[in-house]
């Protein structure tokens, strides 16, 4: 089968969870491997094929000078480039450094800071190269990932909803934790895709799928304050796994005091 499209998977600063989602496709993995040629996926194979690649999936954020160069090379080798996960689309949890002094972060962890080469900021892939599609989530949803791959193979736009987690709660019949129990929840400003897991487990959404399309974060923040949340609570809530995503970053600044 010489004409199968070539798929590549790349890792930058991340936990491997999003590429693991691909290996977690227990039932679909072998059929996927039949539909595409897995040309570069180091977590899965020592055999690598040279580019160009028809579709590159990129996990992780840019945090070192070497990675800032490597992503340029990945873009040159890729016809289509899709970023997967909160690290690649928003800088990830490691973007908390963007709000602190990096020297102080390095010396808090390493005895010899001079051995560490790192950038002051953790930035999403789109800050460095043009990106064809961004799939949000920490981690991404396995079925959404398969949808994105299928869509790109078929040359269509991926069917990924941009509405909020609230819609998923309603569909699942989960009572609203914010309204019914007074539990602070980021669901109203967070993009759907996870299946509204947290409210299903009796806790508020903590925003790991990042901002939905046009989120009204100030209104939600007022709702949290009415439930007794402090500025510090709000600051931390908006500064977690998608701290670098613009609507969350902006709202966090409003509570930074």
């Amino acid at each position: 089968m010489p004409d199968r499209p070539r798929l590549a998977v790349w890792k930058f600063a991340s936990c491997d969870g999003c590429q693991l989602s691909l290996l977690d496709c227990e039932e679909e993995l072998l059929s996927l491997a039949g539909a595409v040629e897995i040309a570069y996926f180091l977590e899965a194979s020592r055999k690598t094929l040279p580019g160009p690649y028809d579709l590159s999936l990129v996990e992780g954020s840019i945090t070192t000078p070497e990675d800032a160069e490597r992503i340029q090379e990945v873009r040159r080798l890729s016809k289509r480039l899709v970023t997967i996960g909160a690290c690649a689309t928003a800088g990830g949890i490691q973007a908390l450094r963007n709000f602190a002094r990096i020297e102080e972060f390095v010396s808090a962890v390493y005895a010899s800071p001079e051995y560490i080469r790192t950038l002051e900021r953790s930035t999403p892939i789109a800050a460095h190269v043009p990106v064809d599609f961004e799939l949000q989530g920490c981690p991404v949803n396995r079925l959404q990932l398969l949808e994105v791959i299928s869509a790109f193979l078929a040359g269509r736009t991926p069917a990924i909803a941009r509405h909020s987690v609230c819609v998923e709660c309603k569909r699942a019949g989960t009572p609203c934790v914010l309204v019914a129990r007074g539990t602070p929840c980021l669901g109203p400003v967070t993009q759907a895709g996870c299946g509204a897991i947290c409210p299903g487990y009796a806790r508020g959404c903590y925003g790991c799928y990042g901002p939905m399309e046009t989120p009204n974060t100030p209104s939600l923040a007022r709702g949290w304050q009415a439930l007794g949340s402090s500025d510090r609570d709000l600051l931390r809530a908006f500064r977690t796994f998608n701290a670098g995503a613009e609507p969350f970053r902006r709202e966090s600044e409003a509570h930074a005091g």
């Binding site: 890792k11 930058f12 600063a13 991340s14 936990c15 491997d16 969870g17 999003c18 590429q19 693991l20 989602s21 290996l23 977690d24 227990e26 039932e27 993995l29 072998l30 491997a33 897995i38 180091l42 977590e43 899965a44 194979s45 020592r46 055999k47 690598t48 945090t63 070192t64 990675d67 990830g92 949890i93 490691q94 908390l96 450094r97 602190a100 102080e104 972060f105 390095v106 808090a108 962890v109 390493y110 005895a111 010899s112 051995y115 560490i116 790192t118 953790s122 920490c138 981690p139 996870c194 897991i197 947290c198 299903g200 487990y201 009796a202 806790r203 903590y206 790991c208 931390r236 977690t240």
Partner: protein
């Protein structure tokens, strides 16, 4: 003599980024360096100032393959700091959750990452063309482990249901019933996996390691126990610093952890098995013997077999726990808000994982320290590679390279955890 350089550009099928550099002189291996250049993410720094309640969600993001291990060490250490402990039913659910992660992570490593080395394939997909039934059986088994994580944790990667003091929500009887029906065939699949792996050709190599793992009075260790070794070590988690020290070397973004008095040591399935064979149920012991393992095993290549034994154990243990489970009154226990300091070690699939936290009076983290298994094994991996490479110097470079990669995978290294990707550079002079 001219310097000869052999480069293994990428070590694949490990979780992370790094390289291996061997310097050879007069037919001897001078140095073996496992260089880890996974970009650091500074978790211990970014945890400071966070509420203790956020820690289980944050530390899960250190590793997508073993998030439960990070959550378990964190909740135990934080409960230690707060001076509380959960009752028997919640403890049981935590152990059940850990069984899920051991199954999922071990089967991923055995079938998808390590078995291709033994059978001579570049990856699981190529291997599946000739060993399709075994691969599909492995994937189904991995799915069973993931199903435990999904039911108890909410999802497989970065579970959401773990909190300091217990869980957010208890599983329902119907969820647990479905889990039992998934695990019964999984136990059979795990035995078949062990018998399959027992037929793999094993390189002949042994080393006298210091094994370090938890040891519990009655159970095969997961969440609790004394830290012990085969050279007389026996201490509680809070005494970790008295015997272990971390150091920072220029070639690695992972810290090295060593025993203050004796240097390198080994954590993980091989260590747990050697130190706790007597804690395995008789049924699992006899399956291990049938697979050719005695109570002691010093061949790191046979760790794949030990991992398979642990998968059988985890399936059996999960079924036992499900049968014994009686729901607690509440999904979590009440927690005080107080200053304090706490330590805990639990057994991640790859080995012992130490966490230490200092809490301020307002319940925020003042200081955090995390010592993952791969940084503890880094020195031991380098010693294995040095000895192994020395015995293989006469072999073609491709053989040497493949065997070194396989030896690194013996440890199932999780380089994202320890800070990720291996490139082999061999310098000959």
């Amino acid at each position: 003599m001219p310097v000869r350089k052999l480069t293994l550009e990428q070590l694949a099928r490990v979780e992370g980024e790094g390289s291996l550099e061997l310097s050879l002189q007069d037919g001897k291996v001078e140095t073996a360096r496992l260089k880890i250049f996974e970009p650091p993410r500074f978790f211990e720094a970014l945890l400071r100032g966070r509420a203790f309640s956020e820690v289980p969600d944050i530390v899960a993001r250190i590793c997508g393959i073993c998030p439960v291990a990070y959550q378990m060490s964190a909740v135990h250490a934080l409960e230690h700091a707060l001076g509380v402990s959960v009752g028997a039913p919640l403890r049981l659910l935590r152990r059940l959750l850990y069984c899920g992660e051991w199954i999922e992570s071990h089967v991923l490593h055995i079938v998808m990452l390590h078995a291709p080395d033994f059978l001579g394939y570049p990856d699981v997909i190529a291997m599946a063309r000739e060993h399709g039934a075994e691969v599909r059986r492995g994937l189904a088994l991995k799915r069973a482990g993931n199903e435990i994580l999904r039911v108890l944790g909410g999802r497989e990667i970065h579970p959401v249901n773990v909190r300091v003091g217990g869980f957010y929500r208890l599983p329902t009887p119907s969820e647990l019933g479905a889990l039992r029906r998934t695990l019964e065939p999984a136990r059979e699949a795990a035995i078949a996996l062990l018998r399959w792996v027992a037929r793999f050709p094993m390189p002949d190599y042994e080393r006298d390691y210091e094994f370090v793992s938890l040891r519990h009075p009655s159970e095969y260790p997961m969440n609790e126990g004394q830290l012990v070794s085969n050279r007389g070590l026996s201490l509680a988690a809070e005494e970790f610093d008295s015997e272990f020290e971390e150091s920072h070397l220029p070639h690695s973004t992972a810290l090295y952890c060593a025993l203050r008095r004796r240097g390198s040591y080994l954590v993980g399935p091989l260590a747990r098995y050697n130190l706790n064979f007597d804690r395995l149920p008789a049924s699992v012991q006899s399956l291990a013997r049938e697979a050719g393992l005695g109570p002691a095993c010093r061949n790191p290549f046979r760790s794949i077999l030990v991992r398979a034994v642990e998968v059988v154990f985890a399936c059996e243990e999960a079924l036992r726990l499900l049968a014994a489970y009686e729901p607690p009154e509440a999904p979590s226990i009440p927690l005080p808000r107080a200053a304090g300091e706490g330590h805990a070690c639990t057994e991640a699939p790859r080995g012992m994982l130490y966490h230490h936290y200092r809490l301020a009076a307002d319940g925020t983290i003042q200081e955090a320290r995390i010592v993952p298994p791969t940084s503890q094994n880094q020195a031991s991996i380098e010693e294995d590679l040095r000895l192994l490479a020395e015995s293989l110097l006469a072999e073609p470079e491709e053989t040497l390279r493949e065997r070194c990669e396989q030896a690194i995978r013996n440890y199932d290294p999780c380089i994202s955890c320890s800070t990720h990707f291996l490139r082999l550079v061999i310098r000959r002079s």
